[in-house]
């Protein structure tokens, strides 16, 4: 971090220490619960949206701007309000000087990294991330922000609905693994640049791969179960030969999905229907995992009874024929 960065962090720590009442009992620094501060943040953020949103772009407050550049820097206020960082002031992460336009040069270096506010969690995540194929092979080009758009991302725990979690988490990977442009920017870091392998071709062995993309996450197959209990997901993206290829890991009653993707899904009234893994019922039918033991035993019982009945019937036929034969002779 630059000296300016350190100074800013220090200033922030002091500021938060003073505003201690507002930041009470949260695991991240900078939490705002005070309605007055929330309102102030909303107003100040609206100034940024004055240019950095679809509406602002269509109706720019001034004529001397680089509109081509701005086009690529638009944000959706609704998405920000649905993210982890809802209610935060843009300038907490971006820095005060963005208030003025044209923005001063070189501000980018001052961006707060995730670890600045999420010290403990970041430390744990970073350890796993450093073992991932991306960190190992793509080095510094690959950061937390490469996957986590801090303006949009919402932690799975707060989403709950597995379908929405899947859509969000897979988008992080697909945005790059399905885009030649973005992928090549990163694969340029490799000693020999890699041509982006096509996702569908890579997963040909998986029937209905597209359907799987909507119901299971890339990380459910590409990461091990997190060894750190306080983390819901592991950040250690494994080399491809270690990825999960065993269907029964998900398609069985002991499905790993129950402990991962579905851990936040409500076990709602459907649980009364007597299914195993009732949390699945609302969002997916997973062959082998969504099962009703009553029905299974009923069907197994019907087969057992039928086969037994037929054996008895057959035995009586044989015996009766034998008796008749003896009587006849």
């Amino acid at each position: 971090m630059t000296i300016a960065g350190w100074a800013r962090s220090l200033a922030m720590v002091l500021a938060f220490a003073c505003a201690g009442v507002a930041a009470r009992a949260q695991d991240a620094k900078g939490v705002v619960t005070d309605p007055a501060i929330l309102e102030k943040n909303r107003k100040e953020n609206a100034e940024c949206y004055g240019c950095h949103s679809e509406a602002g772009y269509k109706n720019p407050p001034r004529a001397d701007m680089d509109m081509v550049k701005l086009r690529a820097l638009l944000h959706d206020p609704a998405k920000f309000d649905g993210s982890n960082h809802v209610g935060m002031n843009c300038k907490i992460c971006h820095g005060q000087p963005y208030e003025t336009y044209p923005h001063p040069a070189g501000l980018k270096q001052n961006l707060s990294p995730c670890s600045e506010c999420h010290a403990t969690k970041s430390l744990r995540v970073e350890k796993q991330f450093e073992d991932s194929v991306h960190a190992k092979n793509l080095k510094d080009a690959f950061t937390c922000q490469t996957c986590h758009d801090p303006h949009v991302y919402k932690v799975a725990q707060k989403i709950g609905d597995p379908r929405v979690i899947v859509a969000q988490d897979n988008q992080m990977c697909i945005d790059c693994h399905n885009s030649d442009l973005r992928y090549s920017k990163f694969s340029a870091q490799l000693s020999t640049q890699k041509v982006r392998p096509d996702l569908d071709t890579l997963h040909k062995w998986l029937p209905n791969a597209r359907l799987h993309w909507q119901a299971a996450r890339c990380i459910d197959c590409h990461t091990p179960v997190s060894k750190v209990k306080s983390l819901q997901t592991s950040h250690e993206i494994l080399a491809k030969d270690k990825a999960e290829k065993n269907c029964v890991a998900c398609h069985s009653q002991q499905s790993q999905l129950a402990a991962r993707l579905y851990r936040y899904a409500a076990t709602n009234a459907a649980a009364d229907l007597g299914f195993t893994n009732p949390s699945y019922l609302g969002s997916a039918y997973v062959i082998g995992a969504t099962r009703n033991p009553w029905l299974d035993w009923g069907i197994i019982g019907a087969f057992a009874a039928t086969i037994l009945g037929l054996f008895v019937h057959g035995a009586i036929r044989v015996v009766a024929a034998g008796l008749r034969g003896r009587r006849a002779s």
């Binding site: 269907c247 029964v248 609302g282 969504t290 009703n292 029905l295 087969f303 039928t306």
Partner: protein, 204 residues
Amino acid sequence: MSSREYLLPLWLRLWHWTNAVLMIVLAVTGASLHFADPELKLVPFSLATTIHEIAGIALAVTYAFFVVANIVSGNWWQYVPKPPGVLHRCWVQTRYYMWGIFRGEPHPYPPTKEVNFNALQAVVYWTIMYVAVPVVILTGLVFFYPTWAPERMFGLDGLLPIAMLHYVAGAAVILFMVAHIYLGTMGVRPTSLFRMMITGWHEH
């Protein structure tokens, strides 16, 4: 020396055995999918999916052939239980299986060219072939193209009722098949009905 009569045309016998092989394959792979478990030695899940899908489509095609051929040949008429006295004849047939057969009584309604099925057979075959099997095939096709399934049903995932129906109807068909194979031993000799299904000739 028993008498012989040519009852079953070639197309029907070919259909029958194709159908039988596909059903058995579908039953084994279907069970491997439904009861998938790392501890159980079933057909591996991935292989089971592939085989079940191929056999399932083949069965749908076979079934379409069955329906068309039955209409064209007029064989469908055999499946219609003919009043009056359907219930009575079913009862007589049931009584025969539960009692008469042990005493060596003759079949109450032996097959003829005009009336190939007894009333009980007609009722059961009709239910299986025109209710249960279509249900299995249609739900199977929805499984194949999950986008056809309703998004949600009764607040649950839309595929759930489809899957349950497929499972239950499939089990019913195979349950029928188990009994059906056993009843196949009820000819003049235990093997004569199986021989009829191959040669087309019925031994009286």
